[in-house]
Amino acid sequence: MHVVVCVKQIPDPAVPGALDAYNTLQREGKLILDESDSYGVEMALQLVDAAGGGEVTLISMAPNGEVSGLRTALAMGAAKAILVSDPALAGSDALGTAKVLAKCVERAGGVDLVLAATESSDGYTGTVPAQMAELLSMPALTFAKHVEVADGKIKIQRQTEAGYDVVEASLPVVVTVTAGVVEPRYPSFKGIMAAKNKPVDAVTAADLGLADQVGWAGARQEITGVTQAPARQAGEKIEDDGTGFEKIVGYLEKLKVI
């Protein structure tokens, strides 16, 4: 079983981020594995184990040939990676990113399953996996909180507001997994040592035949402005004069919690 996992390398969320002149996040420093992608990596490793063989390939698009986040996922147990790093990719919108990743899936070859997070922790568009599936002519199953693969089919529990739906599809397929679908493993020391020597196929947009379709040149989205999120409003204080509970019950009823 060959599973491809989309892995985004993002600026460390613990460090305050900064925007460039085009209102996009500066990505010049060290990048780390987006935590939301660690669930996909773990899920892929578990599915390959359950299938009794196969391998996990990572695909990533990052500036400056950055591999720090990829090494973390390789240390967890992925076999190899494809990294697209090219100044021409700067300014790529969600569709541009989806085109690049779809080409990477084709480059990986013989793919049974593509896993991605529901959205990245820095961009939050949440549209790339579905766009990628369309470009690959694969079904897209999204918000999976449980995944089973058997007999060339995949069955997921799709998270909904009320609970979950069971959705099935034939392989190959693109699946997005929710945070918490599995508990990502820590990379073992041996895995960390081995990661250094695992193959990373470094390619450019031109290598993928996408030179003019990505980056600012190909972007159909534009960030026209960025504003601070409004400060959190102070909550309502209820003085308990003996009927405080009624106000709380009324408040919860208004929220339809009870």
């Binding site: 090494r71 973390t72 240390a75 820590y186 990379p187 073992s188 020391f189 960390i192 990661a195 250094k196």
Partner: protein, 420 residues
């Protein structure tokens, strides 16, 4: 070497995450409850594959040793045939020493006692068996200690023998036919209350004066007739490291438990070399512990100096507070450089001298204690409260100046080298 390699940083980050997620939530139980550290240590070992690496390394070395013994070129119990804490995978000592140091540093940012429990079991007890034991003894006891499947204690200190460990030692072994009878009391024994395997250090009583008796070591199993392991002692700090007493009353053992199966295993030059190697390893480990504690003090203190407002501004704007932070940073840099020096010398295959290791330990232990006390001072009243972590670090750091050779003993080792 002036900074950790990318590989080292990956290990550091992974262990740091483990400590924050798996150990820190238990800090209160480890500090103020009765939680023993062993399950968490085993989880650490399993999570990072340290148990499998240790077992594989042990098996490789033992196979090589057996092959070598088969050729008649090395006898059983050859000194230094297998170092417990080193798992070099054929990649150079510096890299693997770093793998040993980083968990020590990161664990010490939360629970230094866990490092002591781990270090004594793996770095002292297993190392003693590996250094002087026969192949059969290593197979019987060392492997399970190295993987943390079993917990070890290394019993040397007695109520009346501390720094003068061998001179004042009263514990004895007396021959009784083909066997030995062991008697004595040991105290301040790390892991003593819960140890499965105990290396008991004593003197062979042949009716001669104590000062002339040979030092011998035996490996004991928990539950042997005549062996009593006390409950944990109450201590100033290091609460996550159970410390206890051992009482031996005519414990009968065969020669198979005599380390090296020789009464002369610890006499002469070989014995001194083995002790020296143990001291160097132990003292460098203390420097790594100190580094973890200083780094944590600095991290907490910088954050507090920015957040705590007095006289209308963050206390970090006052120069006396800045002085404390600056002194901590100087200590951090110095101790980190000492740790890097140890890694460099390991990578170069040049072991540190005892005097160097003593100097490293002396400086690092004092620096950690000073940094922790300064952190308490910086936190003021809050720093004196158990709720704030610096209170624990200050209590824990003090032991670095006492165990693994007191500051005073380190001074004598350094001075002896200088004046030789």
């Amino acid at each position: 070497m002036f900074e950790w390699s990318e590989e080292h940083r990956m290990i550091r980050d992974a262990v740091r995450e483990f400590v924050d997620k798996e150990v820190r939530p238990h800090r209160d139980e480890l500090e103020h409850g009765d939680m023993a550290p062993y399950d968490l240590l085993r989880k650490l070992y399993r999570t990072f594959g340290m148990d499998q690496m240790a077992a594989a390394s042990f098996d490789r070395r033992l196979a090589a040793e057996e092959a070598s013994a088969g050729e008649g070129s090395a006898g059983e119990g050859s000194a230094g045939a297998s170092r417990a804490s080193s798992d070099d995978e054929g990649d150079g000592g510096g890299r693997s020493s770093g793998f040993t140091m980083l968990p020590i540093i990161e664990l010490c940012k939360c629970s230094p006692g866990m490092v002591t429990a781990m270090g004594v079991s793996v770095g002292l007890t297993a190392a003693a068996i590996n250094a002087k034991g026969t192949v059969a003894q290593k197979r019987r006891w060392a492997r399970d200690l190295l993987t943390m499947e079993k917990i070890g204690a290394w019993a040397i200190t007695e109520p009346s023998s501390g720094s003068d460990a061998f001179g004042s030692m009263l514990s004895t072994a007396r021959r009784d036919g083909d066997e030995y009878l062991l008697n004595g009391s040991k105290t301040f024994i790390t892991n003593g209350p819960y140890a499965d395997t105990i290396v008991f250090i004593c003197k062979l009583d042949e009716g001669n004066p104590p000062a002339e008796r040979k030092v011998v070591q035996f490996v004991l199993d928990s539950g042997m007739a005549g062996l009593e392991q006390s409950k944990p002692l109450r201590k100033m700090g290091l609460h996550s490291s159970p410390t206890g007493m051992l009482f031996l009353d005519d414990v009968r053992v065969g020669r198979d438990r005599l380390l090296g199966e020789s009464e002369d295993a610890f006499t002469g030059r070989q014995g001194r070399e083995a002790s020296k190697a143990t001291f160097v390893m132990e003292r460098s480990g203390v420097a790594a512990m100190a580094l973890g504690m200083i780094e944590r003090c600095l991290e907490l203190s910088v954050r507090y100096a920015k957040e705590r407002v007095q006289f209308g501004k963050p206390i970090g704007e006052f120069q006396l507070i800045q002085l404390k932070l600056a002194k901590m940073e100087v200590a951090r840099l110095n101790v980190e450089n000492l740790v890097f020096r140890y890694l460099e010398s390991s990578a170069a295959g040049v072991p540190m001298t005892l005097a160097e290791a003593s100097a490293m330990k002396l400086y690092a232990a004092q620096a950690a204690t000073e940094a922790a006390l300064e952190a308490v001072q910086l936190f003021g009243g809050n720093g004196y409260m158990a709720e704030y972590e610096v209170e624990q670090i200050a209590r824990d750091a003090k032991v670095l100046q006492i165990y693994a050779g007191t500051d005073e003993i380190q001074v004598t080792h350094i001075a002896r080298h200088l004046l030789a």
